[in-house]
Symmetry: C2
Subunit: 416 residues, 2 copies
């Protein structure tokens, strides 16, 4: 049906010659040689973040399986694995395949596996030697997976997803979990391997703090795992309990650490956005983390920016910048951080004080300037901070990794 080899894309009858935006082709200087807009990763902050989260997980006795859907950049997966990540988490079967063909062999598919074409992708990954887990939250899906994988002589490792009322996927009650576990236990094509949850959608009940609610949710994941263990339904010697995005990692890691779990249980953290952090939502989430856990020190640093040029200065107080919703995530408007003159150097920055992005169109940003911005020129290069890295990464097929002199040291491909 499908094939793990990237050479297998024989079907396309309308190939396009590969050309896309923002690719630095031969020139290494961001401020002179790169077609802008371009997405930029700052090496110093990136390296800091890679090490920070790895150390954080190790300090809490947890394994790190960074969510790869954030970046879908195999070069970053390699960096994450090099500093000690245990696996890469992915959101879809094609994402798992993209990671696997780029050398990632331990994959956590943090979603239900639905659709025969997607099941076929996973079957081929298992046959090719991947270690892979996916989630189940319904008897119907478990039966379908069982039939599919058993027929191929395969056994698919699954984690039961524990959800919350009003949340996304996942069993809504312990009873549902146990009923599903019994079905998985009886399924020749499935191997019950643990429990999964995502705390990002937990809502605190009236009077309770969100921190307490997240901690209680993490504790329930542990209790659920213990219940499955006691019932003899875990098919593996080293089961997994896993949770954690990038906003509540402190609470989850502590709850899993302090639950008195058997050493054989693998506690797996799955933050994704930490790798580049941001100047928006995750910056704020971190302020809350560091507010409650000052011992964590400096925390993560924003590593992702979009560089774009002033295209037009059509009216006093208005700059049109050549960057739009095709270039940057729209959760929140990007923030002007610094400005450079084209051809200049990293240490010669110009002010963006009072600059405010007002609107994003597809290919343009409307930026309001303060009265005093009369020294702005068409062609000036502005570095923008973004909110929510996931929705900026997916706008780019290539990103520039730069050093402090803003020389491009690597061009990273993405596999969205």
């Amino acid at each position: 049906m499908s094939d793990v080899s990237p050479e297998s894309t024989a079907f396309p009858t309308a190939p396009a010659r590969a050309e896309h935006k923002g690719l630095p082709e031969t020139g290494p200087r961001l401020l002179a040689d790169v077609s802008l807009p371009a997405a930029v990763l700052h090496e110093a902050s990136l390296a800091h973040n890679l090490g920070w989260m790895q150390a954080f997980c190790e300090a809490h006795g947890a394994l790190l399986a960074p969510h790869g859907k954030t970046t879908m950049a195999p070069a970053l997966f390699r960096r994450q694995l090099e500093v000690g990540a245990w696996a890469i988490t992915l959101a879809t079967a094609p994402q798992c395949r993209a990671a696997f063909v780029n050398g990632v062999t331990r994959l956590l598919l943090a979603n239900q596996l639905v659709g025969r074409a997607n099941m076929a992708i996973v079957a081929e990954l298992l046959e090719a030697g991947a270690e892979l887990w996916c989630l189940v939250d319904s008897v119907d899906n478990a039966r379908e997976l069982d039939a599919f994988f058993a027929e191929r002589g395969l056994r698919l490792p699954v984690l039961i997803e524990r959800g919350v009322p009003g949340g996304r996927c996942g069993c809504r009650s312990r009873e549902e979990v146990l009923a599903l576990a019994a079905v998985v236990d009886a399924a020749a094509g499935l191997e019950l391997s643990g429990v999964e949850g995502y705390e990002g959608l937990v809502k605190a009940e009236a009077g309770a703090s969100p921190e307490t609610a997240v901690a209680a949710y993490a504790a329930d994941l542990v209790d659920t795992l213990i219940a499955l263990q006691r019932a003899g339904w875990l098919a593996v010697a080293r089961p997994l309990v896993t949770a954690s995005g990038s906003a509540w990692h402190d609470i989850v890691a502590e709850a899993l650490r302090d639950a008195g779990l058997d050493e054989r249980v693998r506690r797996v953290m799955r933050p994704g956005c930490y790798v580049t952090h941001d100047h928006g939502l995750y910056g704020e989430a971190q302020a809350r983390v560091l507010g409650r856990r000052p011992a964590l020190g400096e925390g993560l640093r924003p590593a992702l920016e979009v560089f774009a040029q002033v295209q037009s200065l059509p009216e006093p107080g208005l700059a049109i910048v050549a960057m739009g919703r095709r270039d940057v995530g729209g959760d929140r408007l990007p923030r002007a951080l610094r400005r450079y003159r084209e051809g200049g150097t990293a240490d010669r920055t110009l002010s963006v004080k009072g600059w405010r992005v007002e609107t994003l169109m597809d290919q343009h940003a409307f930026v309001r300037l303060p009265e005093a911005a009369h020294e702005v020129r068409v062609g000036d290069i502005v570095a923008f901070g973004v909110s929510h890295p996931c929705l900026t990464f997916d706008k780019w097929r290539r990103l520039c990794r730069v050093n402090e002199a803003l020389e491009v040291v690597e061009v990273l491909a993405t596999c969205f």
Copy 2:
């Protein structure tokens, strides 16, 4: 600096093996063999739209230069040219290069050209034989372009952009236009070739209708062109006057037709979204067009859908569908149109009456179901209509073109 050949991407040091989502690899049946979610183009509607807009422009004596930024799909550029389009419009220099290396030789860059790396791309396209126009709206930019292109012995064809107060780019007054034209006229590296505008941001003054305001704006473009012609500042025998997105094409085409322009003036229309139309913003814009111009008949048909599967049914009345902001534009929430059972056929549809997409996360949609939706199954395939094709196309590296039986007849690559 850069190179028009796609083989020139020698710099990347962190290649990723090409793998991405939603690519039908060998199987031609959308409901059985394709990894979902997938973006789907319906051939019948696509062919209808291609012919409709071409006929509309011809009936109004205008040339069609469809905005290629909408799809960035060379296979669709080819279709547009085959039915008679005169050129392809693009938004950036890298987009022009992508179109050119895929066989498009007449390019309208409907933006100011800013940044030496982008100028270098355009210079190489001109040297490689492209016919290309870009916009200017400032003396500073004109001088920079002049210096860059003259130094290379090239002459860059430019159109002066006419803007509106409170709008995006473009000269805000006739005086600015004339001052800029004098500079362009004196520039050895530039060739003044006409006037450009975009009516989508025109605001009607109090008491005036938007239709009247758009018509007045189009008439002003013509007057501006005539003023340039009279001043002897047009450097070409066949100047261009160009405007029109996909929402006001009727008003613009009529205004340009009825302006009594010299036959040698090329009136160029640049709609982009018409090619797939949509189930949202552009559907509504068209209702207004057909309301004021009933003689246009049926109008355009929505041709773009996203197919995705029910992933989880965790609570009564809630389906989680495996489709998110990574798959579909977020201008407005997508709309469930039809449902199929996996492995079924195009003629066996199930109801989505009362289904309402409530929230989009990165990889998930929350869909509220009416009470009676108890026959929904995990794995059911839902066809969603989208709003604003531009922001759905850019989520996909490949799209499936299907026939009425939902067999995949072509896989189209995009070049974002």
